[in-house]
Amino acid sequence: MLNYEEELKKFKPSLEVEDIEDAVYQEDLTDMSDLLKQVMDQKK
């Protein structure tokens, strides 16, 4: 049986057009290569 309140909490507000700039800046672009470089830098 669905819990309406709980299900409702799973719905998050969608991004609006005005939020695009912030969203682009907040996007985590770290990938595996960046992680490896960080590891190697730490080893050095």
Partner: protein, 454 residues
């Protein structure tokens, strides 16, 4: 093989996986795979562009724009994202509409938190019209329909949502929930449903025509109408039959019955008349018998009276001839003689005797009656004076009649008194006796009027 190549290969692997899923519109799966691809290599432009396209495919346009903008930044030239962005920029009105839909969706979330489900449903319906690929709007609308027990609408919305994203976890869970609810509902009226299905099966006829399966109602409308018409005809026929019986047969039967009754009445009347005639005849016969009987009786009485009159006449004659009887005694015997019953010789003898005896007898009786009257012995006076009046009504110029009337009056018999006193006035109008009689008559009249007034 160095790590860079391995990373790129791994990134490509997940891109290919995402592409496969995107092709079968498994958007959620594609997003996961493409995100992994980009985690291995953020420079995998095709993966990022595809991720943007997948977001766009399920209505999350802003998320798509974010990916495409990043993609363009990473590779400004020879990038498919440029065309995507240009297309959106060219249709600014479309983007504005989508943005309004997104704002409405966010507002709907607020409505839902404030128990404004009705308002949210109305808004979400509009959103799905203006932005038909907005998956989240369908899902939220389905949740609200489920919450408000509008399962049919929820089913429709979830079907559309599943077409947009075939493996979305929320969509599938809602569909499962809906299936469970319908299963519970179906179990309750199982018998009814089975019957309905059977009935439905009976009501339809399936047959193949070439490659097509045709399903048509077993009972066509015409047949149903024919059945109804038949029933109506039966009812109408019954009504007409009843009307014929009521208006034609019943009156005829009634008429026959009434004729029969009239005949019976006539027969009884005739019988009664015959019986009355018989009774009348019998009555007449009886009356005649009675009349005959009365006549004969009268004849007998007359004969007896005649015989008695003769006997009395003979007795009186013998007494007179013997000379030993007083006149009053002989007069008593003569008074018992009915002169009319005698023959001519008898009447002559009777007249001789009365002319000889009555004057003396009247004198004797008058004196005796007057004496009785004077001593107030009215009964005797009446008896004796009555004999005098019978013998000679005009005796003593009406004195006997007057005294007899007075005696009756004093004896309490005013009617007889009136008769005698009136007779005095008739026979001797200008005498003292008449004057006294008149006075007494006035007194009697006055007394009678007083009694009437009282």
């Amino acid at each position: 093989m160095d790590y860079t190549k391995k990373i790129i290969r791994q990134s490509n692997y997940w891109y290919n996986d995402g592409l496969k899923k995107a092709r079968i519109r498994d958007m959620s799966g594609a997003i996961v795979s493409l995100r992994r691809s980009l985690q291995y290599n953020k420079g995998n432009i095709t993966a990022r562009n595809l991720l943007g396209l997948v977001y766009y495919g399920r209505g999350e346009v802003v998320e798509a724009l974010v990916e495409w903008i990043i993609s363009k930044n990473l590779r400004p030239k020879n990038n498919l994202a440029n065309s995507y962005l240009q297309n959106i920029q060219h249709s600014a009105r479309g983007l504005e509409t989508i943005n309004q839909s997104i704002k409405r969706f966010n507002q709907c979330l607020v409505y839902c938190q404030q128990n404004g489900e009705d308002m949210a449903i109305i808004q979400l319906k509009k959103i799905t019209v203006s932005h038909p690929t907005y998956l989240k709007a369908y899902q939220l609308l389905a949740l609200l329909y489920l919450h408000t027990r509008q399962y049919a609408q929820a089913q429709q919305v979830l079907t559309k949502a599943r077409k947009l994203d075939t493996t979305n976890e929320i969509t599938l869970r809602y569909m499962q929930e809906l299936t469970q609810i319908r299963g519970k509902k179906a179990k309750k009226p199982e018998n009814k449903g089975t019957k309905k299905k059977k009935k439905r099966k009976k009501e339809t006829v399936e047959y193949n025509l070439g490659n097509e399966t045709i399903i048509q109602p077993a009972h066509r409308m015409v047949k149903e109408l024919a059945g109804r018409f038949t029933l109506m005809n039966i009812v109408l026929g019954a009504a007409i039959g009843a009307a014929i019986v009521w208006f034609l047969i019943v009156p005829a039967v009634d008429e026959t019955k009434s004729d029969k009754r009239n005949k019976e009445v006539l027969e009884y009347s005739e019988r009664i008349n015959a019986l009355e005639a018989q009774l009348s005849a019998v009555t007449r016969t009886l009356d005649s018998y009675r009349a005959d009987s009365a006549d004969s009786e009268e004849a007998v009485q007359t004969a007896a009276a005649t015989a008695e009159s003769y006997e009395n006449l003979m007795t009186a004659s013998e007494q007179y001839n013997s000379g030993s009887y007083s006149e009053d005694t002989i007069a008593d015997v003569l008074l018992a003689v009915n002169r009319n019953a005698l023959g001519e010789s008898g009447q002559e003898r009777y007249d001789d005797l009365t002319s000889s005896i009555y004057p003396t007898a009247c004198s004797i009786y008058y004196e005796s009656g007057s004496a009785s009257y004077n001593v107030a012995n009215y009964d005797t006076a009446i008896e004796v004076l009555s004999k005098v009046v019978t013998m000679d009504e005009s005796y003593e110029d009406g004195g006997a009649l007057l005294t007899l009337g007075l005696a009756c009056l004093e004896n309490g018999d005013p009617e007889s008194a009136t008769t005698y006193l009136k007779r005095v006035n008739e026979l001797f109008p200008d005498t003292d006796n008449a004057q006294e009689a008149k006075t007494k008559l006035e007194e009697i009249a006055a007394a009678a009027s007083q009694d009437t007034e009282q």
